[in-house]
């Protein structure tokens, strides 16, 4: 029997110990009229070789295109050592580290992770992960409402937040009647303008949300908005791409006093695209807010002998202790992904991560130059960007994407497909995984398609 080790003599002996006539007899407390109908759709089982062949057939029906799509999921090179180590059985098959003494490996790793992501974002404390970027933003907003509870449950979102993130936030925070107010970006710049804030001088907010870079890939001038939020007694939530933090100013340094809560998706740091998940969300904050954070948190402490060790801490915030009064319902999070991210950041280090980010930026800049030289191709917005930008094309974007796909290229993401309120534009991302030859090829193919 697959994965069940019992021999028939063992089964007999066990039933005898239990004093039961059969395995069926062990279910005698279940009322007879509830006994299930046989499965209608689940097929018969198969051996490993045949199921592997089935999965290979399915995988063959997934086309591998050269990827210039970003929009929240970014293709980066993942060093071989990352998943080689993360997939060790001791990391892979451990549970949440409740028994600290038998989980020091996971716990020390999480402490190292918390340190890395806190420093990368310029903040004082971090949790051990959330599900993904979108839910990390929802949790950050719920946390801000708890921290800033004297203010009304109203949040100002500075344009443009990733449309799917925006929808996830809506799904989750609307359950608690939290109001969301949006400031759109200026189409000329691709970012918000300080003048747009004057309309909200007299409106009270619990927090202001800025995504950096924003959905169009553009970088906001974050000092003004951070100081504006604080002057109006609102918290500043930064939702950032952690890879961009190797190049761009970290939220801890924004404005006079820095952001209050930072969140985002760890996917760019060693997690494969894998059709959208599993990824991992993160959350960092000021130390004074630690007790309002959601999710697992690891702390360093001492054992009976005074020796350093690690354990889950501040568990009185969590659902398994506090139940209906917990800061969040989250239990299982994304531990294994954080394991990979911690190994990735350790391998790349300070210099390596800067080089990856700089290469992304340089190559994106190079591609933008090449394609805006094509007749009728124009950038949407003119704000500085990291590794992603939007352009308008002289032909419908959907058609262009289809023709590029026929040439083996996933040319980007259609803005209108993500959010019908956007103009017909193409969002393009370039990372270090592309060579200058690839970029030249892309520009040439696009020129042909548009000709």
């Amino acid at each position: 029997m697959p994965f069940i080790p019992h021999t028939s003599s063992e089964i007999e002996a066990m039933l005898e110990t239990i004093d039961a006539a059969s395995i069926d007899a062990l279910f005698d407390e279940i009322p007879k009229d509830l006994i299930a109908q046989p499965f209608a759709h689940i097929p018969d089982g198969n051996n490993e070789m045949l199921v592997d062949r089935l999965l290979q057939q399915r995988a063959d029906q997934v086309e591998s295109l050269q990827c210039y799509a970003g929009a929240g999921a970014y293709q980066h090179h993942i060093p071989a050592a990352v998943w080689d180590i993360a997939m060790r059985g001791e990391f892979l098959t451990a549970y949440t580290p409740y028994q600290a003494e038998a989980s020091q490996g996971t716990l020390q790793l999480l402490y190292e992770f918390q340190t890395m992501i806190a420093k990368l974002t310029g903040m004082e404390v971090a949790n051990a992960s959330l599900y993904d970027g979108a839910t990390s933003l929802a949790e950050a907003i719920l946390m801000a409402v708890r921290v800033n509870k004297k203010r009304p449950k109203r949040i100002l979102l500075i344009g443009s937040v990733h449309p799917y993130y925006r929808q996830v936030v809506q799904t989750i925070v609307s359950q608690q009647q939290i109001e969301l107010v949006d400031i759109p970006v200026e189409s000329a710049t691709g970012v918000y303008a300080a003048e747009q804030l004057t309309a909200y001088e007299k409106t009270e907010f619990a927090a202001v949300v800025v995504q950096q870079p924003n959905f169009l890939g553009c970088l906001h001038a974050t000092d003004t908005i951070t100081d504006w939020a604080h002057a109006h007694d609102a918290l500043l939530i930064a939702c950032v791409n952690p890879m961009a933090m190797a190049l761009c100013q970290e939220p801890g340094q924004w404005g006079d006093t820095g952001a209050d809560i930072v969140c985002g998706d760890l996917q760019p740091l060693g997690i494969p695209l894998a059709f959208g998940g599993p990824y991992a969300g993160f959350l960092t904050a000021r130390k004074t807010f630690a007790r309002q954070m959601p999710g697992r948190i690891v702390g360093r402490t001492q054992d009976l002998d005074g020796k350093t060790g690690f354990c889950l801490t501040l568990q009185a915030r969590e659902q398994h202790i506090r139940r209906s009064k917990a800061t969040s319902n989250i239990c299982t999070n994304q531990g294994l992904l954080v394991t990979a991210v911690t190994i990735y950041l350790s391998l790349l280090g300070d210099t390596g991560l800067r080089q990856v980010a700089q290469t992304c930026h340089q190559q994106a800049t190079a591609l933008l130059q090449k394609i805006t030289a094509i007749n009728g191709v124009q950038r949407i917005g003119d704000a500085p960007f990291f590794h992603e930008f939007a352009v308008s094309l002289p032909k419908p974007v959907d058609r262009v994407l289809t023709e590029l796909a026929q040439r083996g290229i996933q040319g980007g993401v259609s803005l209108t497909a993500m959010d019908p309120s956007w103009p017909d534009g193409l969002l393009i991302c370039v990372t270090e995984t592309k060579t200058m030859d690839d970029i030249t090829q892309y520009a040439a193919q696009l020129a042909e398609v548009l000709a």
């Binding site: 180590i85 003494e101 190292e112 190797a246 059709f275 790349l348 700089q358």
Partner: protein, 484 residues
């Protein structure tokens, strides 16, 4: 045994050069106010140092691969190696989530079929694969219950009924959806207190959240009556699928009268726990909740698979994930179901139940007290160490820590909260009789030690990388990140 922090192992300027590309210049064209001015604070170590450090850390962990891990309500069964390999095909790992459906038909087919299988397992007609863990499945389910009542203009239903033995995520999820939680007591036999339940329902009742078998390790026998009482009051029933391993293919939540449920793929369907995730918590629903399922869903029309999303105009509760949930975990569960098939899945519940009942009876025979000695175990059961505490001053925590020294991961301790000094023990179907017997031997040896050397237990563990940790200090003197 100890491993220094990776931050203290480095040298300024050292890094794993093979990993990073070399840009043509490190000078940036970005305006100064956008540029980072501070160090990143990351370690500066070689590739070998990284490999050694994290390999060593891994060796400080217990996992299913190294130890028996009878953690109650967590279903720590063997995670088949084959499944890992099957889902790691390059095109599946490298696909961008926004790849148009026409280029990803093979993937969508797997997900579509998984939706169908889950309908089968749940006995319910609607499924969404999106929730990324059990507790997000709960959030989705409770949000659907809320949306359902609101769609009927039934705004007075503000209370969610939850048994005192429920997982902590249940009340936490209900509160996240704006409900007030009303706790239902447990009767002496371990079943829900039906008499009290009947006095608690009314026009304010939105629904009830139940695990069956419950976290007390017993099947709630009057479930049909519970369903009737709740439905008559106009409420809906939520099934917490954390204990589905006990009844897979035997009883289906839909047939028990439940309207909505989540499944923990990282429990019942053997996807690895990863030291705390990732999991996946797909939701299944009855006909009346189908319109509210979280998006996107996978549909099959005219020979093509496609994503059902905003454009389809459903009154969905909306999105819950940046993209399409934890696809990699969904694929693992799909491969596991294809390996076991219908017969294999039924066998899971049979042998999980056999192992639990065997271990329960053996522990009782050697003198441990069962929480519910007159009941069958489901896939798990509870022993209480209250007597031992009275006699020897030894707690459930002491026994749990001492078990680590004997090479067993501890069972779940102090949960459910209503059984004092309890251990919740779930062996799963993949453990052999020898392993269970060895666990009983260890428990007997610990029982001996209680009488001869209680201090040994109070100071356990003795063989782990650290001795018992001071978690009060950890919470009082918060040290959450390393500072130079």
């Amino acid at each position: 045994m100890s491993e220094s922090l990776i931050f203290t192992q480095g040298q300024r300027g050292r890094f794993a050069t093979a990993q990073a590309p070399m840009p043509t210049t490190m000078e940036t064209d970005l305006p100064q106010e956008y540029v980072r001015q501070t160090p990143l604070g990351l370690p500066e170590v070689s590739e070998l140092q990284v490999v050694r450090h994290f390999t060593r850390l891994s060796q400080y962990n217990f996992g299913i691969d190294t130890h028996f891990y009878p953690l109650g309500s967590c279903t720590m069964k063997y995670n088949p190696r084959g499944v890992q390999h099957m889902v790691s095909k390059p095109s599946l790992l490298n696909g961008h989530p926004l790849l148009p459906a026409e280029y990803g038909q093979g993937l969508l087919q797997c997900l579509y079929e998984l939706q169908e299988y889950i309908k089968d397992l749940a006995g319910m007609p609607g499924v969404s694969l999106i929730p990324m863990a059990g507790s997000q499945g709960e959030l989705a389910g409770v949000a659907m219950i809320r949306a359902y009542h609101q769609s009927r203009g039934d705004h007075q239903r503000t209370e969610m009924l939850i048994p005192d033995a429920a997982h902590g995520t249940n009340p936490a999820s209900a509160v996240m959806c704006g409900f007030t939680v009303k706790e239902i007591p447990t009767a002496a036999d371990g079943d829900i207190d039906l008499a009290v339940l009947k006095t608690m329902v009314g026009p304010q009742t939105a629904g009830i959240m139940l695990t069956n078998p419950s976290t007390l390790g017993v099947f709630t026998r009057q479930i049909a009556t519970v369903a009737q009482v709740i439905h008559q009051a106009g409420g809906l029933l939520y099934y917490d699928g954390a204990n589905l391993n006990a009844i897979l293919g035997r009883v289906r939540p839909g047939e028990m009268g439940f309207d909505v449920m989540h499944l923990n793929l990282h429990k019942t369907f053997a996807t690895p726990h990863g030291g705390g995730g990732p999991g996946a918590g797909p939701v299944a629903v009855s006909e009346r909740l189908k319109p509210f399922l979280p998006i996107p869903l996978v549909a099959y029309e005219n020979g093509q698979y496609r994503w059902v999303s905003e454009g389809d105009g459903l009154p969905t509760i909306g999105r819950l994930s940046s993209f399409m949930g934890n696809v990699g975990i969904l694929l693992r569960a799909y491969a596991y179901i294809r390996l076991l098939g219908r017969t294999g899945l039924q066998r899971v519940a049979e042998f999980a139940t056999l192992n639990a009942n065997y271990l329960m009876v053996r522990l009782q025979q050697v003198g441990f007290q069962l929480a519910y000695p007159k009941r069958r175990a489901s896939h798990e059961f509870i022993i209480s160490l209250s007597e031992e505490k009275k006699q020897f001053g030894v707690t459930a925590m002491d026994v749990a820590k001492r078990l680590l020294d004997y090479g067993f991961h501890a069972p779940t301790t102090y949960f459910p909260l209503l059984i004092p000094e309890c251990l919740l023990i779930e062996p799963t179907e993949t453990e052999s009789k020898q392993e269970l017997d060895a666990f009983v031997d260890a428990m007997c040896a610990i029982r001996q030690e209680m009488q001869t050397d209680a201090q040994l237990l109070k100071q356990a563990p003795h063989t782990m990388p650290v001795r018992r940790l001071d978690d009060v200090r950890a919470a009082r003197e918060l040290d959450l990140i390393w500072c130079e």
